[in-house]
Symmetry: C2
Subunit: 467 residues, 2 copies
């Protein structure tokens, strides 16, 4: 250490000599006071269009259908148009695959090299950033947010695990900065995970992994939020909310396939505000204690749950069923664990304290147990979800492989409602036969049986299927 | 498609023309029959030295101390020496940091570029592969295993998340190949995670993340195994077991710091074979039902649990305590969920069906609930672990920040053993005071208090501390 010649740097009291101690910048020139290092100081709100004006029309549950992310794309298109200096959409080469391509009506993919005549939607000043490297995107977006701008990362669900480690560091940074009063809030890190586990039809097992949510919920509750909107209008409502938020990591899991719409925009706003609520139009327990609660979270589980309710109405009409949909996953945790957590009295009012709950969940079932194990009714909670069974197959075969299908949910009800197993043996047997029939159909025709693909919720049913 | 000129490729029946149909190789020249594509065909067992001969001497629990990974390094040294054609040790630039450097007595880091005179342990034919890119290492190792060789990946615990997505694909591959009879088993993918969450003394919060285990257990139970050996001899036993296994992913989490040895080699082998067992020498419930079970999994939680037992003996000697250590984490799952899972009767015999269990765990507490939620005694299971609180601080301050420290464990016992809260208020108050004292000490001296650093298990206690 002598080679540093400390006698030239410090005086006899060990104090730094004045020539050196006056060198560091002061005031706003200090690194921590630099606007670009404290991005919240530069942050301007997004100029957001009214998300309600992008709503799809839903005269009755199931009466219309839409591709949720395609609808979201029209909203994001106008977010981009109105915020050219402060918003970017980022992702691997999947903006179009995730059906957000309405954004290319107003912008392009940014590219700084030579642009060829055959290139489509490529420009030096595009607001969409695409590169087939999730790590690079994550790095770009973190830098963009930390310097006071806003962004939205869309990704195939399975491959977002590539940034697990980078997400960790950002979440840790957010946790620590919340305790530093001089650090101003920055825009949230928003992930849209589409092309999800249940609809990897031709891609298969390698593309099936819903575990990013599990990874995310290990981080501090105060910085993480997870949403699974079941249709187009709920997705719009959730996306608007996330774009307005600060200092969070928001994970949105949503479908891109054509699927039935359940809620009108007004209903969607109320449902998203509640985070989890009873869908009265799908329940028949009004004024009574239900015999069973069918809970669902995620677009495909919601579809299978409603189809199971339809089967129950037809085959076991005297069973009182309550349907609860969860759009804000963290509602399941106690309010002592997460700011969004339901109080026990609210949770019990939805899920009862003693009735069987068949919970159809988008991801690994264990996560629901992990979030809800302290609830009074947890012993009666039975969760279906992805149990790491998959291959290149049809959408309905995928849910059957994982016992998340409508027929299996009906069997679960029969198995768990006291007294039902004895008297509904024939219905249970029929459900098993149906599973086999549907499986055989996929092997024979390479697609799902018409009774599956053409099913619509009875309220929305009309001649010739839905629009 | 016409441009492919199908009329030249197929005859009138749509059959491939003979000139083309005879082109693909047959028999062993088919891609799937190539030895390098079915690595299990080439796999030779490792020539393993007897791991017992590397044992540290443990005359009594706590009577000696060792750095577990340094001891493991001596075993790996001889594994390398005896298997120059079929074994590699891989990792970021942490082989020495993880204290496995005994291997450099017999080999070097492989390097194919020019080697300088100042380079240490670098050679063209070294058996250690180091590069500061976890993804590259994972790729190297997967290729090495898939072509019929053996390996061992050592990594800082927090940064193994960098390969989450690659691990996913390997685990999925293993799951699928188990159902293909022509695919011969390959050597397991072995991870040693050291430099773990509890001992990042000078590195801080960014280096603290025990979540890889959570990620791993989402994959199919039949391919994943997780071990948390609490000391040097148990680590040797576990490592030997993993090196002999096939078609698994083995995750071993072990400490590198000097720590007390609890088990002799004979005891370690029995304990690891059981996977989870009662440590009679630390318990005082013999012949009785315990008042409380103190369970522990991981080296630091085991230390804190045993120190808590010592406090309980001194301050509440009439409380009957049972200590259960878990080395094979998947023992906690039911046998219906994981091949290593304990049957309920075995689980109940360890953890009782109605007594409070204070479980000190290495990682995120929710994982223990997730694994054990079906057990009868789950409502009485109270887990302490990492709750995402950390910073650059002393080892004991880290456990205090997360309520995993010995004093807090004693408070947990007082809070949960019926009747104890009322009569042990003074002890509980003393424990709170102790936490504060120890915290103040760290702020004043920058290190842990002597009563913490010099504590040894009473059986091992001798003049002047342990060897």
């Amino acid at each position: 250490m002598r080679s540093y010649r400390p006698e030239e740097l410090f005086d006899e009291n060990g104090t730094l000599v004045p020539e050196l101690s006056t060198l560091p910048p002061t005031g706003e020139r200090r690194m921590s006071a630099n606007l670009s290092a404290n991005g919240g100081m530069r942050l301007k709100d997004l100029d957001l269009p009214d998300f309600r004006s992008y709503a799809v029309d839903v005269p009755a549950p199931g009466a219309t259908a839409a591709e949720p992310t395609r609808v979201l794309g029209t909203f994001l298109r106008d977010v981009i148009a109105r915020n050219q200096d402060r918003f970017r959409l980022l992702g691997p080469d999947e903006t179009t695959s995730n059906r957000l391509n309405a954004v290319f009506d107003v912008t392009d993919r940014v590219f700084s090299d030579k642009i060829l005549a055959t290139d489509e939607h490529i420009a030096p000043h595009g607001r969409v950033m695409e590169v087939l490297s999730e790590q690079v995107i994550e790095g770009w977006l973190e830098g963009y947010l930390l310097t006071g701008r806003h962004g939205f990362f869309n990704c195939y669900e399975a491959f977002i695990h590539i940034v697990d480690s980078m997400f960790n560091q950002h979440a840790k940074w957010l946790k620590v900065t919340r305790a530093l009063p001089w650090r101003r809030p920055i825009a949230s890190l928003n992930y849209l995970l589409s092309s999800h586990v249940w609809r990897q039809d031709q891609n298969g097992f390698s593309h099936q992994d819903p575990g990013f949510i599990d990874h995310v919920v290990n981080k501090k509750a105060e910085v993480i939020r997870v949403y699974l909107p079941p249709d187009a209008n709920t997705l719009l409502s959730v996306a608007d909310h996330c774009l307005r938020s600060r200092n969070y990591v928001n994970v949105i899991v949503a479908g891109k396939q054509m699927e039935q719409n359940w809620l009108s925009m007004d209903e969607a706003i109320v449902h998203c505000t509640r985070g989890a609520s009873i869908w009265k139009w799908a329940s028949n327990d009004e004024g009574n204690k239900p015999d069973v609660v069918l809970a669902c979270c995620g677009d495909v589980p919601t579809l299978e749950t409603l189809a199971a309710v339809d089967l129950l109405r037809r085959h076991l009409p005297d069973i009182r069923v309550r349907v609860v949909n969860v759009v804000d996953l963290m509602r399941l945790q106690p309010d002592t664990e997460h700011p969004h957590g339901l109080r026990d009295r609210d949770f019990d009012a939805l899920f009862t304290t003693d009735k069987p709950v068949i919970f159809a969940y988008h991801g690994y079932p264990s996560l629901i147990h992990r979030l809800a194990y302290r609830r009074k009714n947890h012993p009666n909670l039975h969760v279906r979800g992805y149990r790491e069974e998959g291959t290149t197959t049809t959408p309905f075969d995928m849910v059957m492989l994982n016992d998340l299908d409508r027929f299996h949910l009906v069997m679960d009800v029969i198995d768990r409602v006291p007294g039902l197993r004895e008297r509904a043996g024939d219905v249970r047997q029929l459900m098993q036969d149906k599973r086999l029939e549907c499986r055989v159909y996929t092997r024979q025709y390479g697609e799902d049986a018409p009774e599956i693909t053409q099913w619509v919720w009875p309220n929305g049913r009309r001649e010739g299927g839905y629009e």
